[in-house]
Protein backbone atom coordinates (compact mmCIF):
# COMPACT_ATOMS: atom_id res chain seq x y z
CA UNK A 1 0.00 0.00 0.00
CA UNK A 2 2.82 2.33 0.80
CA UNK A 3 4.51 1.65 -2.47
CA UNK A 4 1.31 2.39 -4.17
CA UNK A 5 1.05 5.64 -2.41
CA UNK A 6 4.53 6.69 -3.34
CA UNK A 7 3.91 5.77 -6.93
CA UNK A 8 0.69 7.67 -6.90
CA UNK A 9 2.04 10.75 -5.27
CA UNK A 10 5.51 10.83 -6.73
CA UNK A 11 4.76 14.21 -8.22
CA UNK A 12 5.18 15.62 -4.74
CA UNK A 13 8.87 15.01 -5.06
CA UNK A 14 8.94 17.63 -7.76
CA UNK A 15 8.76 20.20 -5.01
CA UNK A 16 12.26 19.34 -3.86
CA UNK A 17 14.03 20.29 -7.06
CA UNK A 18 11.75 23.27 -7.36
CA UNK A 19 12.69 24.62 -4.00
CA UNK A 20 16.34 23.87 -4.54
CA UNK A 21 16.19 25.47 -7.91
CA UNK A 22 14.72 28.54 -6.41
CA UNK A 23 17.40 28.69 -3.76
CA UNK A 24 20.16 28.19 -6.28
CA UNK A 25 18.76 30.88 -8.49
CA UNK A 26 18.50 33.29 -5.66
CA UNK A 27 22.00 32.43 -4.54
CA UNK A 28 23.73 32.22 -7.85
CA UNK A 29 21.93 35.10 -9.50
CA UNK A 30 23.06 37.54 -7.04
CA UNK A 31 20.93 40.58 -7.19
CA UNK A 32 22.36 42.88 -9.75
CA UNK A 33 23.27 45.79 -7.59
CA UNK A 34 23.41 48.19 -10.46
CA UNK A 35 19.90 47.25 -11.38
CA UNK A 36 18.75 47.38 -7.83
CA UNK A 37 20.34 50.59 -6.84
CA UNK A 38 20.96 52.67 -9.86
CA UNK A 39 19.06 55.84 -9.71
CA UNK A 40 16.70 56.48 -12.61
CA UNK A 41 18.42 56.10 -15.93
CA UNK A 42 20.47 59.10 -16.61
CA UNK A 43 18.88 61.73 -18.64
CA UNK A 44 21.30 63.81 -20.60
CA UNK A 45 18.92 66.66 -20.63
CA UNK A 46 19.09 67.06 -16.90
CA UNK A 47 19.42 70.71 -16.29
CA UNK A 48 20.01 72.69 -13.23
CA UNK A 49 16.33 72.93 -12.59
CA UNK A 50 16.13 69.23 -11.97
CA UNK A 51 18.83 69.29 -9.32
CA UNK A 52 17.27 68.68 -5.93
CA UNK A 53 17.40 71.93 -4.00
CA UNK A 54 19.66 70.50 -1.32
CA UNK A 55 22.28 69.76 -3.96
CA UNK A 56 22.38 73.16 -5.59
CA UNK A 57 25.98 74.32 -5.44
CA UNK A 58 26.89 77.71 -4.01
CA UNK A 59 28.53 78.65 -7.30
CA UNK A 60 27.01 77.54 -10.59
CA UNK A 61 29.90 75.44 -11.68
CA UNK A 62 29.51 73.45 -14.88
CA UNK A 63 31.64 70.39 -15.53
CA UNK A 64 30.22 70.37 -19.04
CA UNK A 65 31.51 73.79 -19.90
CA UNK A 66 34.92 73.05 -18.49
CA UNK A 67 35.33 69.69 -20.19
CA UNK A 68 33.67 70.41 -23.49
CA UNK A 69 34.50 74.02 -24.07
CA UNK A 70 37.63 74.23 -22.08
CA UNK A 71 38.80 70.75 -23.09
CA UNK A 72 40.28 70.41 -19.66
CA UNK A 73 41.24 66.90 -18.56
CA UNK A 74 39.98 65.82 -15.17
CA UNK A 75 43.37 65.68 -13.56
CA UNK A 76 44.10 69.25 -14.49
CA UNK A 77 41.93 70.30 -11.61
CA UNK A 78 41.61 67.14 -9.52
CA UNK A 79 45.34 66.97 -9.19
CA UNK A 80 45.66 64.44 -6.41
CA UNK A 81 43.68 61.64 -7.99
CA UNK A 82 46.80 59.85 -9.17
CA UNK A 83 48.85 60.45 -6.07
CA UNK A 84 46.52 60.20 -3.19
CA UNK A 85 43.44 58.57 -1.81
CA UNK A 86 41.60 61.82 -2.33
CA UNK A 87 41.10 63.16 -5.80
CA UNK A 88 41.02 66.58 -4.27
CA UNK A 89 38.71 69.41 -5.07
CA UNK A 90 40.63 72.01 -7.08
CA UNK A 91 42.05 74.68 -4.87
CA UNK A 92 40.59 78.13 -5.02
CA UNK A 93 43.88 79.38 -6.39
CA UNK A 94 43.58 77.14 -9.42
CA UNK A 95 40.10 78.50 -10.08
CA UNK A 96 41.30 82.05 -9.80
CA UNK A 97 44.28 81.21 -12.02
CA UNK A 98 42.16 80.77 -15.08
CA UNK A 99 39.26 82.95 -14.18
CA UNK A 100 41.30 86.04 -13.71
CA UNK A 101 41.52 85.78 -17.51
CA UNK A 102 38.47 83.78 -18.50
CA UNK A 103 35.46 85.91 -17.86
CA UNK A 104 32.72 83.81 -19.41
CA UNK A 105 30.95 83.91 -22.74
CA UNK A 106 27.41 84.66 -21.71
CA UNK A 107 25.70 86.49 -18.95
CA UNK A 108 24.94 83.45 -16.89
CA UNK A 109 28.51 82.25 -16.91
CA UNK A 110 29.79 85.71 -16.21
CA UNK A 111 27.58 85.94 -13.20
CA UNK A 112 28.87 82.64 -11.91
CA UNK A 113 32.47 83.63 -12.43
CA UNK A 114 31.82 86.90 -10.70
CA UNK A 115 30.44 85.01 -7.79
CA UNK A 116 33.56 82.88 -7.73
CA UNK A 117 35.87 85.87 -7.82
CA UNK A 118 34.07 87.32 -4.85
CA UNK A 119 35.73 84.63 -2.78
CA UNK A 120 39.20 85.79 -3.71
CA UNK A 121 39.68 88.67 -1.30
CA UNK A 122 37.89 86.95 1.57
CA UNK A 123 40.32 84.07 1.72
CA UNK A 124 37.45 81.73 2.22
CA UNK A 125 36.64 78.59 0.27
CA UNK A 126 33.53 77.66 -1.62
CA UNK A 127 31.50 75.21 0.44
CA UNK A 128 30.84 72.70 -2.33
CA UNK A 129 28.16 70.11 -1.80
CA UNK A 130 29.62 66.67 -2.08
CA UNK A 131 27.80 64.61 -4.69
CA UNK A 132 29.94 61.53 -5.11
CA UNK A 133 30.18 60.70 -1.50
CA UNK A 134 30.88 57.42 0.18
CA UNK A 135 30.13 56.94 3.86
CA UNK A 136 32.80 58.00 6.29
CA UNK A 137 33.69 54.46 7.16
CA UNK A 138 34.69 53.76 3.58
CA UNK A 139 38.26 54.70 2.79
CA UNK A 140 38.32 54.61 -0.98
CA UNK A 141 41.62 55.14 -2.71
CA UNK A 142 41.55 57.11 -5.96
CA UNK A 143 45.24 56.46 -6.42
CA UNK A 144 44.97 52.70 -6.74
CA UNK A 145 42.13 52.84 -9.21
CA UNK A 146 43.51 55.58 -11.40
CA UNK A 147 46.91 53.95 -11.46
CA UNK A 148 45.66 50.68 -12.85
CA UNK A 149 43.99 52.55 -15.63
CA UNK A 150 40.43 53.10 -14.61
CA UNK A 151 38.93 56.06 -16.31
CA UNK A 152 37.19 58.64 -14.17
CA UNK A 153 33.99 58.07 -16.11
CA UNK A 154 33.78 54.47 -15.01
CA UNK A 155 32.60 55.55 -11.64
CA UNK A 156 31.62 59.14 -12.06
CA UNK A 157 29.83 58.80 -15.39
CA UNK A 158 29.99 61.13 -18.32
CA UNK A 159 30.44 64.18 -16.21
CA UNK A 160 30.95 66.22 -19.34
CA UNK A 161 27.32 65.91 -20.30
CA UNK A 162 26.01 67.62 -17.21
CA UNK A 163 25.99 71.20 -16.25
CA UNK A 164 25.18 70.56 -12.69
CA UNK A 165 25.85 67.33 -10.90
CA UNK A 166 23.40 65.82 -8.50
CA UNK A 167 22.55 62.34 -7.34
CA UNK A 168 20.37 62.11 -10.43
CA UNK A 169 23.35 62.37 -12.72
CA UNK A 170 25.31 59.70 -10.93
CA UNK A 171 25.66 56.45 -12.82
CA UNK A 172 25.90 54.53 -9.60
CA UNK A 173 25.02 54.97 -5.99
CA UNK A 174 28.59 54.01 -5.04
CA UNK A 175 27.18 51.24 -2.91
CA UNK A 176 29.24 48.35 -1.70
CA UNK A 177 27.54 45.96 -4.06
CA UNK A 178 28.53 48.15 -6.95
CA UNK A 179 32.14 48.12 -5.77
CA UNK A 180 32.06 44.39 -5.26
CA UNK A 181 30.94 43.77 -8.82
CA UNK A 182 34.37 44.67 -10.12
CA UNK A 183 36.13 43.26 -7.13
CA UNK A 184 34.70 39.80 -7.66
CA UNK A 185 34.77 39.67 -11.43
CA UNK A 186 38.03 41.46 -12.00
CA UNK A 187 39.22 43.01 -15.20
CA UNK A 188 41.43 41.76 -17.95
CA UNK A 189 44.75 43.44 -17.43
CA UNK A 190 48.09 43.64 -19.11
CA UNK A 191 51.10 44.65 -17.09
CA UNK A 192 49.03 45.95 -14.33
CA UNK A 193 46.84 48.10 -16.52
CA UNK A 194 43.35 47.12 -17.39
CA UNK A 195 42.95 46.56 -21.08
CA UNK A 196 39.51 47.77 -22.01
CA UNK A 197 39.85 50.68 -24.33
CA UNK A 198 38.88 53.73 -22.51
CA UNK A 199 38.64 57.30 -23.42
CA UNK A 200 41.49 59.06 -21.77
CA UNK A 201 39.91 61.93 -20.01
CA UNK A 202 42.61 61.93 -17.50
CA UNK A 203 46.17 63.04 -18.06
CA UNK A 204 49.47 61.73 -16.86
CA UNK A 205 51.02 58.33 -17.03
CA UNK A 206 50.67 55.05 -15.24
CA UNK A 207 53.22 54.54 -12.54
CA UNK A 208 55.20 51.78 -14.16
CA UNK A 209 56.85 50.43 -11.06
CA UNK A 210 53.54 49.68 -9.53
CA UNK A 211 52.46 47.97 -12.69
CA UNK A 212 55.48 45.70 -12.74
CA UNK A 213 54.26 43.94 -9.64
CA UNK A 214 50.96 43.00 -11.14
CA UNK A 215 50.54 39.76 -13.01
CA UNK A 216 48.91 39.69 -16.39
CA UNK A 217 45.47 38.26 -16.76
CA UNK A 218 42.54 39.04 -14.59
CA UNK A 219 43.33 41.92 -12.32
CA UNK A 220 41.36 41.44 -9.17
CA UNK A 221 40.52 43.96 -6.61
CA UNK A 222 41.06 42.97 -3.05
CA UNK A 223 38.22 41.31 -1.21
CA UNK A 224 39.80 42.02 2.11
CA UNK A 225 37.39 44.19 4.08
CA UNK A 226 40.28 46.09 5.58
CA UNK A 227 41.11 47.48 2.16
CA UNK A 228 38.32 49.99 2.45
CA UNK A 229 37.01 49.78 5.99
CA UNK A 230 39.43 51.02 8.58
Amino acid sequence: MKNQFIKKHVYFLLIIPLVILYSVISLANKPDPSAENTPPAQDTTVTENTVPPEFVQPVEFSHKTHIEKGEIPCEFCHIYARRSVNSGAPTMASCFGCHSVVKGSDEKLQAAIKKLLEFKPTGKSIPWKKIHDVPDFVHFSHKRHVQVGFDCTECHGEISTHDALSPLTMITDLSMGWCMKCHTEGRQAFRGEIVESIRKTRGGKIVKQAAAQQPDGILLGSKDCYTCHK
Binding site: I6, I15, I16, V19, I20, S23, V24, L27, K223
Partner: protein, 176 residues
Protein backbone atom coordinates in the same frame (compact mmCIF):
# COMPACT_ATOMS: atom_id res chain seq x y z
CA UNK B 1 -17.04 18.42 -6.96
CA UNK B 2 -19.25 20.63 -4.91
CA UNK B 3 -22.33 19.24 -6.54
CA UNK B 4 -25.71 18.98 -5.01
CA UNK B 5 -25.91 16.97 -1.87
CA UNK B 6 -28.42 14.32 -1.30
CA UNK B 7 -28.34 12.27 1.82
CA UNK B 8 -29.34 11.80 5.41
CA UNK B 9 -27.86 13.15 8.62
CA UNK B 10 -28.68 12.35 12.19
CA UNK B 11 -27.49 13.34 15.61
CA UNK B 12 -26.92 11.07 18.57
CA UNK B 13 -26.52 11.58 22.24
CA UNK B 14 -24.53 8.46 22.94
CA UNK B 15 -21.32 7.26 21.46
CA UNK B 16 -22.23 3.57 21.45
CA UNK B 17 -25.39 4.34 19.50
CA UNK B 18 -23.35 6.26 16.99
CA UNK B 19 -20.85 3.46 16.58
CA UNK B 20 -23.54 0.89 16.18
CA UNK B 21 -25.24 3.04 13.55
CA UNK B 22 -22.00 3.48 11.65
CA UNK B 23 -21.29 -0.23 11.76
CA UNK B 24 -24.67 -0.99 10.42
CA UNK B 25 -24.40 1.60 7.68
CA UNK B 26 -21.03 0.13 6.72
CA UNK B 27 -22.49 -3.29 6.56
CA UNK B 28 -25.18 -1.88 4.27
CA UNK B 29 -22.38 -0.63 2.00
CA UNK B 30 -22.90 3.03 2.61
CA UNK B 31 -19.32 4.27 2.39
CA UNK B 32 -19.83 8.00 2.00
CA UNK B 33 -20.03 8.58 5.72
CA UNK B 34 -19.02 11.72 7.56
CA UNK B 35 -19.22 11.69 11.33
CA UNK B 36 -19.15 14.51 13.83
CA UNK B 37 -17.67 14.10 17.27
CA UNK B 38 -16.79 16.70 19.92
CA UNK B 39 -13.43 15.04 20.31
CA UNK B 40 -11.53 12.33 18.48
CA UNK B 41 -12.83 8.92 19.52
CA UNK B 42 -11.21 5.69 18.58
CA UNK B 43 -14.54 3.96 18.78
CA UNK B 44 -15.61 5.90 15.69
CA UNK B 45 -12.35 5.08 13.96
CA UNK B 46 -12.83 1.43 14.66
CA UNK B 47 -16.36 1.61 13.45
CA UNK B 48 -15.20 3.30 10.27
CA UNK B 49 -12.57 0.64 9.72
CA UNK B 50 -9.47 2.44 11.04
CA UNK B 51 -8.50 4.61 8.07
CA UNK B 52 -4.87 5.79 7.84
CA UNK B 53 -3.74 9.37 7.34
CA UNK B 54 -1.07 10.19 4.75
CA UNK B 55 0.24 13.23 6.59
CA UNK B 56 3.59 11.61 7.53
CA UNK B 57 4.62 11.34 3.91
CA UNK B 58 4.23 15.05 3.45
CA UNK B 59 6.28 15.58 6.58
CA UNK B 60 9.08 13.44 5.23
CA UNK B 61 9.16 15.42 2.02
CA UNK B 62 9.36 18.62 4.00
CA UNK B 63 12.17 17.31 6.08
CA UNK B 64 14.21 16.33 3.06
CA UNK B 65 13.75 19.71 1.51
CA UNK B 66 14.73 21.42 4.72
CA UNK B 67 17.84 19.35 4.98
CA UNK B 68 18.81 20.01 1.40
CA UNK B 69 18.21 23.70 1.81
CA UNK B 70 20.40 23.84 4.88
CA UNK B 71 23.23 22.06 3.10
CA UNK B 72 22.85 24.35 0.19
CA UNK B 73 22.83 27.66 2.00
CA UNK B 74 25.66 26.80 4.35
CA UNK B 75 27.99 25.70 1.57
CA UNK B 76 27.00 28.25 -1.01
CA UNK B 77 27.15 31.15 1.36
CA UNK B 78 30.47 30.11 2.81
CA UNK B 79 32.00 29.85 -0.62
CA UNK B 80 30.46 32.97 -2.03
CA UNK B 81 32.81 35.30 -0.19
CA UNK B 82 35.56 33.35 1.45
CA UNK B 83 36.29 34.89 4.79
CA UNK B 84 38.34 32.58 6.95
CA UNK B 85 37.67 32.80 10.63
CA UNK B 86 40.01 31.52 13.23
CA UNK B 87 41.68 29.01 10.90
CA UNK B 88 38.55 26.94 10.83
CA UNK B 89 37.85 25.14 7.58
CA UNK B 90 35.76 27.24 5.26
CA UNK B 91 33.39 24.33 4.76
CA UNK B 92 32.91 22.09 7.69
CA UNK B 93 30.39 19.49 8.69
CA UNK B 94 29.79 20.52 12.30
CA UNK B 95 28.38 23.88 11.33
CA UNK B 96 25.85 22.28 9.01
CA UNK B 97 24.43 20.03 11.72
CA UNK B 98 22.48 22.52 13.82
CA UNK B 99 21.37 24.51 10.79
CA UNK B 100 20.30 21.35 8.99
CA UNK B 101 18.43 20.07 11.99
CA UNK B 102 16.56 23.28 12.52
CA UNK B 103 15.67 23.76 8.88
CA UNK B 104 14.60 20.14 8.62
CA UNK B 105 12.27 20.60 11.54
CA UNK B 106 11.02 23.91 10.29
CA UNK B 107 10.17 22.72 6.82
CA UNK B 108 8.68 19.45 8.01
CA UNK B 109 6.38 21.36 10.30
CA UNK B 110 5.33 23.67 7.51
CA UNK B 111 4.80 20.74 5.22
CA UNK B 112 2.86 18.86 7.86
CA UNK B 113 0.54 21.75 8.30
CA UNK B 114 0.10 22.14 4.58
CA UNK B 115 -0.35 18.43 4.19
CA UNK B 116 -2.97 18.27 6.89
CA UNK B 117 -4.87 21.06 5.32
CA UNK B 118 -4.73 19.58 1.86
CA UNK B 119 -5.65 16.08 2.98
CA UNK B 120 -8.56 17.34 5.03
CA UNK B 121 -9.77 19.35 2.08
CA UNK B 122 -9.34 16.40 -0.21
CA UNK B 123 -11.37 14.11 2.06
CA UNK B 124 -13.97 16.74 2.68
CA UNK B 125 -14.50 17.24 -1.00
CA UNK B 126 -14.87 13.52 -1.44
CA UNK B 127 -17.48 13.25 1.28
CA UNK B 128 -20.22 15.78 0.76
CA UNK B 129 -22.14 17.27 3.64
CA UNK B 130 -25.60 18.79 3.66
CA UNK B 131 -26.01 22.35 2.47
CA UNK B 132 -29.03 23.15 4.52
CA UNK B 133 -28.86 25.90 7.11
CA UNK B 134 -30.28 23.53 9.63
CA UNK B 135 -27.18 21.39 9.32
CA UNK B 136 -24.86 24.32 9.14
CA UNK B 137 -26.26 25.98 12.20
CA UNK B 138 -26.47 22.85 14.26
CA UNK B 139 -24.07 23.83 17.06
CA UNK B 140 -23.87 20.86 19.39
CA UNK B 141 -21.41 18.74 17.40
CA UNK B 142 -18.51 20.43 19.14
CA UNK B 143 -20.34 20.21 22.45
CA UNK B 144 -21.83 16.89 23.32
CA UNK B 145 -23.59 15.44 20.29
CA UNK B 146 -22.40 12.92 17.75
CA UNK B 147 -23.49 13.20 14.19
CA UNK B 148 -23.53 10.99 11.13
CA UNK B 149 -23.92 12.23 7.60
CA UNK B 150 -24.51 9.72 4.85
CA UNK B 151 -24.41 10.76 1.25
CA UNK B 152 -26.81 8.61 -0.70
CA UNK B 153 -29.41 8.52 -3.42
CA UNK B 154 -32.91 9.54 -2.66
CA UNK B 155 -33.97 5.89 -2.89
CA UNK B 156 -31.92 4.88 0.11
CA UNK B 157 -33.32 7.58 2.38
CA UNK B 158 -35.83 5.40 4.02
CA UNK B 159 -33.43 2.59 4.67
CA UNK B 160 -30.95 4.86 6.32
CA UNK B 161 -33.54 6.68 8.32
CA UNK B 162 -34.61 3.36 9.68
CA UNK B 163 -31.14 2.42 10.69
CA UNK B 164 -30.71 5.77 12.48
CA UNK B 165 -34.02 5.49 14.19
CA UNK B 166 -33.20 1.98 15.22
CA UNK B 167 -30.13 3.28 17.01
CA UNK B 168 -32.10 5.93 18.80
CA UNK B 169 -30.91 8.97 16.92
CA UNK B 170 -32.08 12.24 18.40
CA UNK B 171 -33.08 13.72 15.14
CA UNK B 172 -32.87 12.52 11.60
CA UNK B 173 -32.90 14.86 8.66
CA UNK B 174 -33.31 14.05 5.02
CA UNK B 175 -31.84 16.36 2.43
CA UNK B 176 -32.10 16.42 -1.28
Amino acid sequence: MMSKFSGVWATFEYLDDTCAAIKELKSENFDQITTHTPCPRHEIDHALGSPQSRVPFVTVIGSFIGFALALLITTKMALDWILPVSAKPILSVPIVVPIAFELTVLLSIYFTMGGMLLLILKDTFKHQVPKSSQYKEYDRFMRDRFGIVVECQEGDFQKIENIFKKHQAEEVNLEK
